[in-house]
Point group: C2
Chain length 153, copies 2
């Protein structure tokens, strides 16, 4: 389970680096699809992972506000802080957790297994990063590689 999270973390850090070549107004420009802007989409994947995996790990929902993280360095720091919070839990993932169930405030009335939540969070980020890749090409820039092979994960 951890490998795909490590993939997302490595790719996400490369997107933060990628942002360094892009004017701020392009990072927050409203675009078609996704959560609306490059920076907001990056914030959204950080926020979603922190909420969902934090919930599995028994932590309160951190609920950060985008307005407080409209800055690449601040957002990268938030991303690393959230990762440090959830990594020990994911590193000790066992098959015994797969069918354990959880309910969360933001999906009232639903019951999910830990296995489906973990995979949901993995797929959620990869999907949004695919959107970033289109916006990168629209800016005339090479997107971060989505390849998982060759990353020594």
């Amino acid at each position: 389970m951890l490998t795909l999270f490590k993939y997302n973390w490595q790719v996400r850090d490369e997107w933060f680096d990628w942002c360094g070549q892009v004017p701020f107004e392009e990072l927050i420009r409203t675009r078609i699809g996704g959560v609306g802007s490059i920076l907001h989409t990056l914030f959204h994947v950080v926020d979603a992972e922190g909420s969902w995996i934090g919930a599995l790990a028994g932590k309160p929902d951190p609920k950060p506000n985008f307005e407080d993280y409209m800055n690449v360095d601040k957002l990268r720091n938030l991303s690393h802080a959230f990762r440090d919070e959830v990594k020990p839990f994911l590193a000790h993932w066992t098959s015994a957790l797969e069918d354990k169930t959880i309910s969360v405030d933001w999906n009232p009335g639903d019951v999910f297994t830990y296995g489906e939540v973990a995979r949901h969070v993995i797929a959620h980020e990869i999907h949004h990063v695919g959107q970033l890749s289109v916006w990168s090409r629209e800016l005339g820039l090479q997107p971060v590689s989505a390849n998982l092979i060759g990353r020594n994960l």
Copy 2:
């Protein structure tokens, strides 16, 4: 391992259904990012899974040509045929396969583990589907849901 493939197969079938509402010329129109068009991107994920997972399962590379599958029904049939070929192998995936290694014609000189190849193929499709979602919004259409939760996988 199988769950994320089942997710991709379900989402992919929903994208084939989604194509039914879109004029053919929009499906093959060259777009920014991805493999260049909606239909070619769908062909590409089918082709990549057939090649990579087929290789892990010890099958020859099928090497289909896009020109022969520029039709949603034909491509859906190819997708189902390839899935039927690789599903038994994935259904019997065990941790013993994780570190087994393979080399493939299309990445000469590289050696990959089965574990990284399987996850590469999973991430590859989810990433490209994220691109489809942007193009769908550009067409004014609701994209297929990328949610993994709630699919009973």
